[in-house]
Symmetry: C2
Subunit: 336 residues, 2 copies
DNA sequence: TATTGTTACGAAAACGGTTAAGTAAATAAA
DNA sequence: TTTATTTACTTAACCGTTTTCGTAACAATA
């Protein structure tokens, strides 16, 4: 297993380790012929640098961490793809850390990052997150942090978000124009900025159409599918069942379909449904689901790009850098 | 930024760095009271160990790498969730490396891994991969490698797969029993073991029912959705259009729906469709898609578990360790 | 000729945590 | 009492790469 190190390479070449290191880094201090010799020998001995030795010495890891609640969701999957594409292009690695929607886990991960494991952080916070302390701490250490999608208030750094309020407005407006009188809004954690924004947009659209906002139309949902299904079915059986539903996250839309099927409620005749979703199958659902489609891949790319700007240029400030990438309303059969 | 290192901690405690290191590792060489003092001071100074220094010295990174073609796919997303769950439990980090289905990229990533970036590798190879050399090289260096789903022949190591041949057999058998006479099989890269297995199962089912296998019923597909759509539509317009279709990977199923819609072909009346898929929305598609559902999360978990067994026990051999987790045929409307 | 610059390389000290080997002091065994 | 053992530490040498500071050798300039 005797790994070939830079010193062994150097010995083979009758050079010093320093020279080899510089040659591999294409330093101007090293002559052309020597560089060539080094490269050739490195290839011949199949030399692979130890990334940890390098990270230790240079105090950079060429790694970014992506911290997010879950990955079994079209939005985050697509976002990871966007992030990884950029990172790979820059020669960086991507550490994926899942919080499973638990703020404690999130804090533990963030604390670990203080050790310098990653040069920068992309984060979409859990729905429980309210305390910005761990993130602030990282910032103070000089680790750039970029939020994407789910941001945490109280921290002044870059954010890549979509136009949550307007999207919810558009969704609500669309339902009203399609004749809905009572629109339920399926919400997740109200502490979350995106949740708050979306609810705001929903309220504004109601107001704009002269419909009085009814607090009980905001349906708080959880991460437990069974539980959500139960409450949805209960709502479907109600006397005054809503005639429109906005699912503020993807999986809630699927749960609505399930609840409607089990309660024999027809979409869109009995109830119109619109979902925030990136499902590639939205158009082929029964009925085809009207969606607010988020630019997941682009958001991932944008977040990573911004992070790399900060990494490449220490004087580049992420502060106040808010990028809003608009979502798109795609009208389909579920709101006809 | 003056990071707090173990030596600074030691100075504050009037101890040596070695003592502190051992105390933090809960070594028996250190007395109870001293351990307590160390822990307290570490917390007070907010000490976070530098993972790279540790990795360099100990020659282990507490990191595993997951190398896969793409992540925007239900199967891989769910698998990552399974893998991450186990890794987190073991105190390991997960590096996600995407090959974008390019074997060259895959080789570059694998070569990098020789440097010791990860203690173990989970890999699902690209559809182009045929050369096992890079993987063998890693094995020779003592890096345990576990295949999941897409394996590469010529390497003797653990594999977590699903019962591809039987699943394809079941799918084909099901279509035949539903009355299909001409069943097209949408295949990706025939070099891939799963592809090969699935085709074998398909052929066997045909034979079992006394149907002659027709080579032109194997439709080679690519990673280019547009291109696939074009060939699918062409097939749909054919004189002797197939009356059954097996989509051997998830996204092909969606493309079939699209092609059928655009060519006004009814599922299941004109053509019955079955797909290898983990779509949570399969049951809500129009029509509900009959699927071979792969145990993605479980496969991820199993692969990671096996890898950690190898990491925890140097004498544990991954060789010959093949675990087959069965897929499930879920009959829905698309094959009625 | 003396001085300054340039080129191409080497020696050695980092980076921060771990660990083998060593050592005083206290305790146990002979 | 002497010797062996245990306890609780410390010293110093790693791990492999990078980087600062030298320094010969040679060229260019004054």
């Amino acid at each position: 297993m005797g790994n070939v190190t830079i010193r062994i390479l150097a010995r083979h070449l009758q050079l010093s380790a320093a020279t080899v290191s510089k040659a591999l880094a294409d330093s101007h201090e090293i002559s052309g012929p020597t560089k060539k010799r080094v490269l050739e020998m490195a290839a011949a001995l199949n030399y692979t640098p130890n990334p940890y030795a390098s990270s230790l010495r240079r105090k950079k890891s060429r790694t970014i961490a992506v911290i997010l609640p879950e990955v079994a969701d079209s939005f985050f999957s697509q976002a990871i793809n966007g992030i990884e594409a950029i990172a790979q292009d820059k020669g960086y690695h991507v550490l994926v850390c899942l919080t499973h929607e638990r703020t404690l886990k999130e804090q533990a991960i963030l604390h670990e990052m203080l050790g310098g494991r990653a040069d920068g952080i992309l984060i979409s916070v859990t729905s429980e997150t309210t305390d910005p302390a761990s993130i602030l701490e990282l910032q103070e250490k000089g680790v750039p942090v970029v939020f994407f999608d789910r941001v945490c208030e109280g921290i002044d750094t870059a954010r890549i978000v979509t136009d949550d309020a307007q999207s919810a407005y558009k969704a609500t407006d669309h339902l009203i124009r399609q004749g809905c009188k009572q629109i339920a809004f399926l919400a997740i954690s109200e502490g979350l900025s995106i949740s708050h924004q979306r609810i705001e947009g929903y309220k504004q659209a109601l107001t704009a159409h002269g419909i009085r906002f009814n607090g009980s139309d905001i349906i708080p949902c959880t991460h437990d599918a069974e539980e959500n299904l139960r409450s949805l079915k209960k709502i479907m059986r109600q006397q005054h069942r809503p005639d429109g539903i906005i699912a503020s996250v993807e999986k809630l839309a699927v749960q609505v379909y399930q609840a409607c099927r089990e309660e024999n409620i027809r979409i869109p005749e009995d109830i119109k449904v619109i979902g925030f979703s990136n499902l590639v199958t939205a158009a082929y659902l029964n009925p085809a689901l009207t969606t607010i489609t988020q630019p997941a891949f682009e958001m991932g790319r944008a977040a990573a790009s911004l992070l790399f700007k900060a990494l490449g240029n220490k004087s580049f400030s992420l502060s106040q850098n808010i990028q809003v990438i608009p979502s798109e309303l795609q009208v389909r059969d579920s709101t006809h």
